[in-house]
């Protein structure tokens, strides 16, 4: 019986359609139901909700009738959004920060992983890895507390402990935009470097040792081994990790940009990104349609980036493409 069910699957059966499949594997379909429902509610309905950004959204009793009854105004919301000065600022901030994070998030963790792998005392390497991985497990709220304990204007460690010791005037950190590109980059790296290092370390430990043995016999130095064996072999992991990050270049880490600067209005010029802008537009100004337009812009441009970067990788190396 089992043999037969196997054979029927392997045979291309065009006639036996979806209903036959449901009848035969009903239990498997039942298992899929909860996941499918959640995906529909949480992801697919919002995708269709994109129409909100083409309408002047007004609430009419319930969600569906509101969408249907709201007036269609075409690209007006987008026009309105792109005429604000924010459109440029938030796009620039989002892309530049993410570019920075992608570049540093590639170089530093790869370097760390290679170095950590070379440390002769494996036990201390383990300890370093554990301590560096820890920040990944803390929420952005906790990180905002850490930042506050360092940068608080009245009692922060940097103003009261460091700067005063050198006789420097305290800095009003939460009101001075010029420092924040560095502070935000620092905390992003602080939280994720350990995680990325672990990813690359796992990849390195999976490499075939024979390459290194051969290189050793040929008299390759450690640096040569790193340059000509480790890095080329890590390339596929690096490409995939970077590709995933590039695909998300229009999606900023809301927690970092909203919580760490404590949503301080004076800092928006350097801390405001698309995600925080959309959130505030939805929450504070209540301009739902324009917030939706900004969100749609982000979703569509983001989707294009994913497909483009995937297309490029496919051209270079078919196997490394995501889809």
């Amino acid at each position: 019986m089992s043999k037969e069910s196997n054979i029927t699957v392997i045979k291309p059966n065009v006639n036996k359609g979806f209903l036959y499949e449901i009848k035969k594997n009903w239990a498997l379909f039942v298992m899929l139901v909860p996941g499918v429902l959640i995906l529909i509610i949480n992801n697919y309905i919002p995708m269709f909700g994109i129409v909100i950004s083409f309408k002047r959204y007004r609430f009419h009793g319930n969600f569906i009738s509101s969408i249907i009854k709201s007036e269609w105004i075409g690209f007006k919301n987008f026009e309105f959004f792109f005429k604000t000065p924010y459109a440029f600022t938030i796009t620039r901030n989002t892309i530049l920060y993410n570019l920075m994070f992608i570049i540093l998030g590639l170089i530093i963790p790869v370097a760390f992983a290679i170095l950590l792998n070379e440390i002769t005392n494996k036990r201390s390497a383990k300890v370093y890895q554990s301590l560096m991985f820890l920040p990944y497990f803390l929420s952005w709220i906790v990180v905002s507390y850490l930042a506050y304990s360092l940068f608080s204007i009245e009692s922060g460690f940097i103003n009261r402990g460091l700067l005063s010791a050198f006789g420097i005037e305290p800095v009003r950190w939460y009101f001075e935009p010029k420092y924040w590109p560095f502070i935000l980059t620092f905390f992003q790296l602080w939280k994720y470097t350990g995680y990325n290092t672990v990813v690359y370390l796992a990849a390195i430990s999976g490499l075939d040792t024979e390459y290194y043995e051969a290189a050793e016999i040929d008299g390759a130095s450690k640096l040569q081994q790193i340059r000509f064996i480790t890095i080329p072999l890590l390339r596929s992991v690096m490409v995939i990790m970077t590709l995933v990050a590039v695909g998300k270049i229009f999606n900023a880490d809301f927690g970092l940009f909203y919580n760490v600067p404590r949503n301080s209005g004076q800092l928006y010029s350097v801390t405001d990104v698309i995600d925080t802008y959309v959130y505030r537009a939805l929450r504070n100004t209540n301009n739902i349609s324009m917030a939706a337009a900004a969100g749609t812009y982000q979703a569509i441009v983001g989707c294009i980036t994913v497909f483009t970067s995937n297309f490029i990788v496919k051209k270079i190396d078919r196997d490394k493409a995501l889809f």
Binding site: V9, F137, L138, W140, L146, I217, V237, V278, G295
Partner: protein, 319 residues
């Protein structure tokens, strides 16, 4: 690689030996080893120091905090902040309870939903596995954005301001699902399932009695991912929760950082004494809550680390 040499501490002796062999030895020199170690020690201090700072602040005397600010080496220690948090902090314990409840229920349901979804997709004989894989995968590439998503949970399925809003949106996760699918695929050979079928076990029975027990490590990995996600979540309460009885610990911390009086006002509702308000160790208490919120993570850290690395390694294998 250099693993073949095992763990040896006296690299000086070894190095001399390599030098005489024309530096063939596949190991870094003692000096570079020293500097690499130095780099990592510095980096680890950078990672741990801010966490240490909030622990020290939470243990510093409140007056000292107000006068001298936050310091790594205060003159006067005090456990008053914790004393306050443990005795008077009804708000805090309530939020802690919400976090625990959401994490437990959320993790349990989420693991079930993810495993249920991943299992059929791991089956070679399941004809629509590619369709359903794509159905989940597509959500990672494209989304409708915050606004329509917000509308769904406030107007279509109004679970705003209930405990469910902090659970439902995270129940299904395409990335975890794919890790789990790879795990099923690589651990469970189709022949086991076939033989269970011959013995008369239904799909559900096979799944719960044979498949899941064999994939304990995978389930544990996913469960820890989910636990961390739920415990550290502040995003859903930020968007959907306005009822302060439903604040979880992260969101309570968010509120407290924004207005230091929040804690005081919260407890005043219960204790009604303005005198308590005046000499509350608010600065210290605030940090004490942060420390308490990290507590469970530090406690479970060895497990977290082990299974996260395992999960990352599985995730790296493209399925």
């Amino acid at each position: 690689m250099d693993k073949s040499f095992g763990i040896v501490n006296d690299n000086m002796k070894k190095n001399r030996k390599y030098k005489s062999h024309n530096n063939i030895g596949n190991r870094i020199s003692g000096t570079s080893n020293f500097f690499i170690n130095l780099l990592f020690v510095f980096n680890c201090i950078l990672c741990i120091a801010p966490i240490l700072l909030i622990i020290v602040i939470s243990l510093t005397d409140e007056k000292e905090l107000l006068v001298y600010g936050y310091s790594f080496f205060p003159d006067k220690f005090s456990v008053k902040a914790y004393d306050y948090v443990f005795t008077a902090g009804d708000t805090i314990w309530r939020a802690y309870g919400v976090s625990i409840l959401v994490t437990l229920v959320g993790t349990l349901l989420s693991v079930l939903v993810i495993c249920f979804y991943a299992y059929p997709l791991s089956r070679q004989s399941f004809k629509y596995k590619n369709f359903f894989s794509f159905f989940a995968y597509f959500t990672m590439i494209f989304g409708g954005g915050l606004v329509p998503w917000y509308m769904v949970y406030t107007q279509l399925i109004p679970i705003k301001n209930t405990i469910w809003i902090m659970i439902v949106p995270y129940l299904m996760n395409a990335w975890y699902m794919m890790i789990m699918r790879t795990f099923f695929k690589t651990t469970i050979p189709e022949s086991i399932i076939e033989s269970a079928k011959i013995d008369g076990a239904g799909e559900f029975r096979t799944f719960f009695v044979i498949v899941l027990p064999l994939c304990k490590a995978g389930v544990a990995t996913i469960a820890l991912f989910c636990t961390l996600g739920y415990w550290n979540d502040w995003w859903l309460p930020l968007v959907f929760i306005t009822d302060n009885k439903l604040y979880n610990i992260q969101y309570l911390m968010y509120q407290t950082l924004n207005s230091i009086q929040y804690l005081a006002s919260g407890s005043a509702q219960f204790s009604e004494s303005s005198k308590v308000l005046a000499d509350l160790p608010t600065e210290g208490a605030r940090m004490a809550i942060a420390v308490i919120s990290i507590g469970p993570i530090i406690f479970a850290y060895p497990f977290f680390q082990k299974y996260f690395i395992k999960g990352l390694t599985i995730g790296a294998v493209k399925g």
